[in-house]
Amino acid sequence: MAKGTAEAPATEAGDAEISANTVTEKPFDREKYRRFYEQMVHIREFEELCAVAFKKGTHGIGGYLHLYSGEEAIACGIIGALDRSKGDCFIGHYRDHGYALAAGSDPNEVMAEICGKATGCSKGKGGSMHICDAARGFYGGYGIVGGNVPIALGLGWALKYKKLDGVCVCFFGDGSMNQGGFHETLNMAQLYRVPVLFVLENNGYAMGTSIERSHANPNLASRVESYAMKYDTIDGQNIVTVHERATEIVEEMRRNPAPFFLECKTYRYHGHGAADEAKQTVYRSREEIEQAKQRDPLVIAERLLLEQGAINDEEIERIRKEALAAAEASLKFSDESPNPSPDELLKDVYA
């Protein structure tokens, strides 16, 4: 798999890459990819409904709402490569709904959290940016850019300390890489050979700032040569590419514990947060967005599944409908859920 360069972001990658020839020799696991496809569609519908609910303003969603639309293949492909029974776990940043849904967290609890309800996974105390699921090894979404990265070091360290075979995946954005804590962490992770898979979701922008305007070396993956860390760059829009590469890496990490840096080229469809929707054209053109959508991870997966005869048009239609219905059911669940009771205010500060 070729190392990516800044000159070939996901938006411009040739359509050739989309087709089945990115599938390696391994037999195509129809069931699995169909499941991933269903997940991705569910995440998409779920989040698009969040966007609507946010605008409406009556469902309890306030603050920031960072949507993952366009990036779903990354969470699904990578979290889908983990094995909780081995101790695998993951941690992310604030654009975090997709992680939980990809891990199989209860979507009702995720929606309720986004809406600040007592039934939310974080009891309504965290909100959209702070989804988590301890049982599924999801150590949470964090709001401070780069803040989750040092914590991943400790999660990986614990795996090493306990002599487990597990790996910890750390998801973060291109903007995180310019935080000091990122630098300290990657050096230490490599120094201690801690099994952390650092997953860069390179969507080309940190809010309104492009890679070129914020990274002196825009070839992001290569930046980790500074830590002598192994790395690769892949097409983050193709679920097969993502999942197969992640599976390979995770297997290798189990055999030879050491960190790995995986850059996934992707694109964010919405504004940085749901509230920034209108400001997008300040930093990117409508055309660029439209072009990026040509490489939609759902469409790419659909085509692959169709090529492989693993799905038909009717099923696609049904999957979409069911996903929308599920999302609506989650919103309904949330709407019907109570607010946190006042005595919750003072609880959970200390263990």
Partner: protein
């Protein structure tokens, strides 16, 4: 005088100072091309160019370091933190460097810089993005800290901060950025008025009496000064006359103004938005009791936010910081005593 919103007063201050002094420049995340996250610097890049409006990577320690060095070399950087919470990864640069350079080098350097940005709780930003971190900056000799509560002071204090020869932290009260002039004037007539004189500044270290009264003194700063005004309006309906002292600067701290008021009212309520425990309100309450011991007819009442990280849900968030009813209740406690 012009009537304007708090955010417009900030923009005006920055505009006036950048035009007045060629050494003033603004550096931070999304300040230039994006026009500022909440558009405080809208149109500035086009007008003043990329040397004076500097977009940065997400590197707060780098931003502050850039500011310190530039200030030592004679410029007047204004470092914007997208939110003041994000100053924490740069806290070492601020507290160990900007604040101490003058002293530890025996006065050889000046560090005339400003670190500014929106502060405080608003609309469900939850634990990591809702803080009002003045205490961390106030407990640090070498810094100055201001907390404008009105449009006039948003302009006047920010301008004074830029002109000051020391590192000044400007905590801008996000909660009241977008109140319209008539909303301000509804709270208290004239509150939206901002002097148009480009030489208007609010001197650092001078508290102001925002409303006169005789039964009790409410002492606060930032958003909570406005909450105190609202409380005073409610109290007036009950025939209780509250004086409202807005501290404006927390470092240097003008205690003469509140102490003079307490000499008159004999009762004090100290109000702050965030955690009371070890917060700025503690210093103010302590000084009042220590210095006005014989003037006080009742224990000082402190009103502060719950000692918890800010919860997300509106239902909880509302309970986590004081509102005017909490202030009214504290006033009643103060009046009931003795």
């Amino acid at each position: 005088m012009a009537k304007m919103r708090y955010i417009d007063a900030l923009t005006l201050a920055l505009k006036e100072e950048i035009e007045r002094d060629p050494n003033v420049f603004i550096v931070g995340e999304e300040v230039a091309q994006y026009n500022g996250t909440i558009e405080v610097t809208k149109g500035f890049l086009e007008k003043y160019g990329p040397l004076r409006l500097v977009d940065t990577p997400i590197s707060e320690a780098g931003i502050i370091g850039l500011g310190i060095g530039a200030a030592m070399a004679g410029l007047r950087p204004v470092c914007e933190m997208m939110r003041m919470d994000f100053a924490l990864p740069a806290y070492d640069q601020i507290a160990q460097h900007a604040a101490k350079i003058r002293y530890m080098f025996g006065g050889q350097f000046k560090v005339p810089m400003v670190v500014r940005g929106p502060s405080g709780v608003v609309n469900q930003l939850s634990a990591q993005h809702s803080q009002s971190l003045e205490t961390l900056f106030c407990h640090c000799p070498g810094l100055k800290v201001v907390t404008p509560a009105t449009p006039a002071d948003a302009k006047g204090l920010l301008k004074a901060a830029i002109r000051d020869d020391n590192p000044v932290i400007v905590l801008e009260a996000l909660k009241i950025h977008f109140l319209k002039p008539d909303q301000w004037d509804h709270i208290q007539p004239g509150l939206s008025e901002v002097p148009e004189d480009p030489e208007f500044v609010t001197p650092l270290g001078q508290a102001q009496v925002l409303r006169e009264g005789k039964d009790v003194t409410l002492i606060s700063y930032s958003t909570m000064s406005i909450t105190c005004l609202r409380a005073a309006n409610l109290l007036a309906q009950e025939g209780i006359s509250a004086e409202v002292v807005d501290l404006r600067s927390l470092l240097p701290l003008d205690m003469a103004t509140p102490l003079a008021s307490i000499k008159k009212t004999h009762r004090a309520v100290v109000v702050q938005e965030q955690w009371g425990l070890y917060g700025c309100g503690a210093e103010i309450s302590a000084q009042i009791s220590e210095r006005a011991f014989y003037d006080l007819d009742a224990p000082v009442q402190r009103v502060a936010g719950a000692f918890v990280p800010m919860p997300y849900s509106k239902a909880l968030e509302t309970l986590a910081y004081p509102n005017e009813n909490d202030v009214v209740a504290a006033v009643k406690r103060a009046l009931a005593a003795k």
